[in-house]
């Protein structure tokens, strides 16, 4: 299998990349890690006239924390960089839990966090993680930069709010209001398979009290499911068994799983319910003060 013909450009700067995308008039695709795009090119689900490879643009691979705790992830940061980051392990439990579950180790060595979000696969791990964390993307076009809230970014399967002449250059995760706790669980038939169901949970805590709660789901709907409204039930509460059960019910009801070869819709909804409970119960057992 090999892709249909395309022009290949490897710009050395963000401005040059944007000019190429602009000139491409919507028939271009950005190539970052390529771990989703190249398979799609080979299957000819994607057949752009032009590929804009951003791997030669310097300064886009970084994981930084601002003084206030805001986390910034550059467009060329690979999944593996997050998986092995000591700072992420220490400060960002939801991302730390999700990173080792993305695809398989070899794909993680090449694929990128931001690219995965822009690919907008309904089963993508990072879109769900970003929605639970309340993150946003910084995108740059011919007229400059703008930010897009993650909850507004994914419009549907493989569809995003990114204009054809814009490049996503950075993902931003706001500083936690208190202590950040959370997790990510995914059920997959084998490593590298699409998720049967996965759940991202992110909470900011003041002692045992929840200050902010975010939950999002992948694999159980036509797009990433934003269950932040359901999660907000926990705000101001403590993580008692009753509260955990209640929010697990709300989130399970919010999921929209379809019966397929990975399981029935009831089964997938039960997985969602179980995963929400497991993550919250594990966290409630920790000392959060």
């Amino acid at each position: 299998m090999y892709p249909s013909r395309f022009k290949y450009e490897a710009p050395k700067s963000i401005a040059e990349a944007i000019a190429l995308l602009d000139a491409g008039k919507g028939d271009s695709k950005v190539l970052a890690g390529g771990q989703s795009l190249v398979p799609m090119l080979k299957l000819r689900f994607a057949f752009p006239d032009q590929l804009v490879d951003i791997n030669n643009i310097p300064g886009l691979n970084y994981i930084t924390f601002d003084a206030d705790g805001t986390l910034r992830i550059g467009a060329l940061t690979r999944h593996e960089d997050l998986e092995f980051s000591a700072e992420i392990a220490k400060r960002q439990p939801t991302i730390a839990a999700a990173a080792p579950l993305v695809a398989d180790p070899i794909v993680r060595a090449r694929g990128t966090f931001v690219g995965s979000i822009c690919h907008a696969d309904p089963q993508g791990d990072w879109a769900a993680t970003m929605i639970a964390l309340g993150g946003h993307l910084v995108v740059q076009g011919p007229k400059g930069k703008r930010t897009i809230d993650m909850k507004d970014f994914v419009l549907g399967p493989y569809a995003t709010a990114l204009n054809y002449n814009e490049l996503a250059i950075e993902a931003v995760i706001p500083a936690p209001k208190g202590k950040a706790i959370g997790g990510y669980l995914k059920l997959e038939r084998r490593v590298g398979d699409f998720a049967t169901a996965s759940v991202a949970v992110s909470l900011d805590m003041d002692g045992t009290k929840v200050l902010r709660a975010g939950i999002a789901l992948a694999g159980v709907g036509g797009k990433t499911i934003d269950a932040n409204e359901e999660a907000s039930f926990l705000v101001g509460q403590t993580l008692t068994e009753a509260n955990i059960n209640k929010v697990a019910e709300l989130v399970a009801a919010k999921s929209e799983p379809r019966t397929d070869h990975r399981g029935s819709s009831d089964y997938k909804r039960q997985i969602v319910r179980t995963f929400v409970k497991r993550i919250l119960t594990a966290n409630s057992a920790q000392k959060v003060a």
Partner: protein, 175 residues
């Protein structure tokens, strides 16, 4: 039937320019004129005749085509050859020296880490990447590092033993 490499080295009338790329393959610079859509696995196998890199699934699942790209393992069916311009690639042909096998290769021999051998090059390169980062992996860490490489024969048991054997040998050599 003409090979993919021959076919796309002289494309029919097209406004897609041919690119000249120079890639350091197993330590030697290799130059090729290619169309941008050529995959790295196909350049290695058909252009450079390095057929040790295997194509199994061609869909980024099986890992048989794994090579090291600037030291990191990648699936060469999922990278364009043009992206490797100016970079270094190590294939299974680059593991052994003229006189001796790489410890990973010895390990596969000692522990019978292969049956049909199709997944073996990818397994060995993924294992090499692990041992370059961590010379003292646990069995779990070996299994985790190889979880992107599929084997249809062995049940993985002897592959894991082979990697642990190689790790031990490499530790002994580095002391």
């Amino acid at each position: 039937m003409s090979s993919l490499f021959e076919e796309i080295a002289t494309p029919p009338s097209s406004d897609i320019p041919i690119r000249r790329v120079t890639i350091t393959v197993n330590g030697e610079p290799r130059t090729a004129d290619i169309e941008p859509r050529l995959l790295l696995a196909d350049l290695l196998r058909q252009g450079l005749k390095l057929t040790g890199t295997h194509k199994g699934c061609d869909t980024t699942n099986c890992g048989a085509c794994t090579v090291l790209f600037d030291g990191r393992p990648i699936k060469s069916c999922t990278m364009l050859a043009v992206q490797a311009d100016g970079h270094s690639v190590k294939t299974v042909e680059g593991l052994a020296s003229a006189s001796e096998l790489h410890p990973i290769q010895e390990g596969f021999k000692e522990k019978h880490g292969l049956q049909c051998g199709f997944c073996t090059p990818g397994m060995m390169l993924a294992a090499t990447a692990l041992l370059e980062k961590n010379l003292n992996p646990t069995e779990d860490e070996v299994r985790w590092a190889l979880s992107g490489n599929l084997c249809r024969c062995t049940g993985y048991q002897n592959i894991v033993k082979a990697v642990l054997w190689a790790a031990e040998k490499m530790r002994a050599e580095s002391n």
